[in-house]
């Protein structure tokens, strides 16, 4: 028998009314707000080049071409580079799984690639199958563990 996706409606939608109320308040405020006359960008200026120069803190007087004015973002660029580096290190640290001091693959069951016809099916009878939560399923290795 085939199954079809069903909407998970076991959530409590009552706190969501706060979000709806916030939208109504913001909409009323925004529609009553007055802004000055729009300035816009000059027609003969490259916006992408201006963003690039702003990112590396290059001012207009160092250049031959006209750019749109902006603040310098060199410090922010370097801080963001370090933050991204830290983020990827932290992601790798959180994702790796160790068993007895040895790094093993994350969220992969006991798949043996020596049989090309198996299509990546979990092995049976060749030791305990690794479950996705990090443990081993020793009672029934052919069941594939917790999916």
């Amino acid at each position: 028998m085939t199954t079809k996706p069903q909407l998970n409606d076991d959530s409590n939608f009552l706190p969501g009314l706060a979000a709806l109320g916030l939208f109504v308040v913001m909409a009323v405020v925004f529609l009553q707000a007055e802004f000055g006359a729009p300035e816009g960008f000059p027609a003969d200026v490259s916006i992408v080049a201006s963003i690039g120069y702003a990112m590396f803190d290059i001012s207009a007087d160092q250049l031959q071409q006209q750019i749109v004015s902006a603040e310098g973002f060199l410090a922010a660029f370097l801080i963001m580079a370090i933050a991204l580096d830290v983020a990827i290190d932290a992601a790798v640290y959180l994702a790796k799984r160790e068993e007895a001091g040895e790094v093993v693959t994350a969220l992969v069951e006991d798949v043996r690639s020596d049989d090309p016809t198996s299509g990546g099916e979990p092995s049976s009878g060749r030791g305990p199958a690794a479950r996705a939560d990090g443990g081993y399923d020793s009672s029934d290795a052919s069941s594939g563990g917790d999916r």
């Binding site: 702003a54 990112m55 983020a87």
Partner: protein
């Protein structure tokens, strides 16, 4: 030029959809997606007012916000992976204590 009120309304709608997701769902992955929606709502405002006032500071700042969102997703996915390993589920209400 499109009036800025339209951009503000769009950003408010996307922000509130993200807030709705955070308040009503318990799945950690949906939490992460909702936070991304809220971040992108802020980006819409930054770009809209950058064009309105003729200054590229807002657009440059929105690029940094996107990079920050990427870093947040990398950490968030790692935390969700650890949550699943330790609790067997990605329900955020399961992790109610600092130790297990």
């Amino acid at each position: 030029m499109v009036p800025p009120q339209y951009y503000l309304l769009l950003a408010a709608a996307i922000f509130c959809i993200g807030l709705f997701g955070i308040l009503t769902r318990r799945n950690a992955l949906l939490f992460l997606m909702s936070v991304e929606l809220m971040l992108n709502a802020a980006n819409i405002n930054l770009v809209a007012f950058s064009v309105y006032w003729g200054n590229v500071t807002g657009q440059t700042l929105s690029l940094f916000t996107m990079a920050l969102a990427a870093a947040e997703v990398a950490i968030g996915i790692g935390i969700i992976l650890t949550l699943y390993r330790n609790f067997g589920d990605v329900d955020v209400t399961d992790a109610a204590s600092m130790r297990w």
